[in-house]
Symmetry: C2
Subunit: 247 residues, 2 copies
């Protein structure tokens, strides 16, 4: 339950028993957290290992630390759930999904424009937005002590999402008009189904043609119950309930 | 699945087969929703009944409608969960808890300053803030088609919350250091335990002395799992999981 600062790095940041934090983390470590040489940090390498390290050098552009101990992180859920979130009207709602979904245990996020998504993201805005989204996920993963950094991807059309179907044991579509409950749907999945993708619609829900397309690829429509949930609430409630049911 | 506008009223707004919306709803109906005489609305009276009504008169200060049909609302969870949320630093987080918690099915909200709550609310600010909080809950209840309007209360100290313990079958405290999981805790409650209160700490969690006080009154410490959840995430994840487990 220590509050030692945590950083996610890529494995190439580890060289022998030294770890070098990337430039943006160096600024954060020095100027925001005010860390100094000798203090301890925990470095997560994204493969599920956490390394306790002692700071060797802290400058405005580089932070180096020496690894002291390594142990597997025990915070990852057994079920791998990717949240495919339709672009909501309000950018803040997507950020809530990324933030809260990372804490709750999402394996990754796939953002896509649905038929009824009011907001649009053009080519040159995507990169900037993706940087911001990945930063939010990284910060949330560090705070919540995730062992693996959830991936964030952008799909310009929902059919590209469905092209990833082979990577998953099941694709669930949260849909207000569905007759099957989440509980019943989960009970019908094979016990070994450990890789799930959940599709969450935009404010106006999925369009009929979209839903038909999802069903045609074998996705399962699921109701989250009789109350109407906003898009950002649906993502978190569904994720929390799946992880609760399957852990 | 109709998107007919919904309004929560108190039972005294119903007189025979006529219903009168309060002044603030009249403005919303006329100027925002642009409703006109003859159109349909659904009125929830807060006792679990929904009344379909045809608008008779719509002015800037008053809306009158004639009841056409009444039926019980089927959206209420069987388990009554009051979310007792410690005042967070950022007012926006509390509003997320109220908004999303209402959609997810909270029976009510009790807001209180915990030992580590950074924000403070003084006497003269409370009334204004309560009005705002109740407005958020009312709007969320209308959108999510709740049958009952969740109550919002303010408790100047956590001991006042615990004075309400006799109204509940169990009080659960979401606490990072707890050893019992939510699943195990729920499994140990009597099957008839239908009235629960959950206590959610502020950003820094509950203080040790506070936790000891909760335990002394019979509250049960519960862990929401190995990942560290922000206060607003903990409230929604815990509520969603309790309602999933018990419905």
């Amino acid at each position: 339950m220590s509050s030692t600062p945590r950083f996610f790095v890529t494995t190439d940041a580890l060289q022998g028993d030294l770890v070098t934090l990337p430039r943006e983390d160096a600024h954060h470590a020095r100027s925001v957290l005010r860390l100094r040489a000798g203090e301890a940090i925990v470095v997560h390498d994204g493969t599920g290992m956490a390394h306790t390290a002692a700071l060797v050098e802290v400058t405005a552009t580089q932070v180096t630390a020496r690894l002291v101990a390594s142990e597997p992180v025990q915070t990852e859920p057994r079920t791998h759930v990717v949240v495919a979130q339709a672009l909501p009207k309000n950018a803040d709602k997507l950020e809530q999904v990324l933030q809260h979904g990372t804490e709750a245990g999402a394996a990754g996020f796939a953002v896509f424009p649905a038929a009824r998504s009011v907001a649009r993201l053009d080519g040159d805005k995507i990169d900037k937005r993706m940087d911001r989204w990945r930063g939010i996920v990284k910060g949330a993963a560090e705070q919540s002590r995730r062992g693996v950094l959830p991936d964030v991807s952008w799909h310009p059309a929902s059919r590209e999402l469905l092209a990833r179907a082979a990577d998953f044991d099941a694709i669930l579509v949260f849909h207000e008009g569905a007759t099957g409950s989440l509980r019943d749907t989960l009970a019908l999945l094979p016990p070994g189904a450990a890789r799930l993708m959940v599709l969450v619609g935009p404010e106006g829900g999925f369009a009929d043609a979209e839903v038909a397309g999802f069903e045609a690829t074998g996705a399962i429509l699921v109701s989250l119950g009789p109350r109407v949930l906003r898009t950002e609430t649906a993502a978190l409630v569904g994720l929390a309930q799946i992880l609760f049911a399957r852990e």
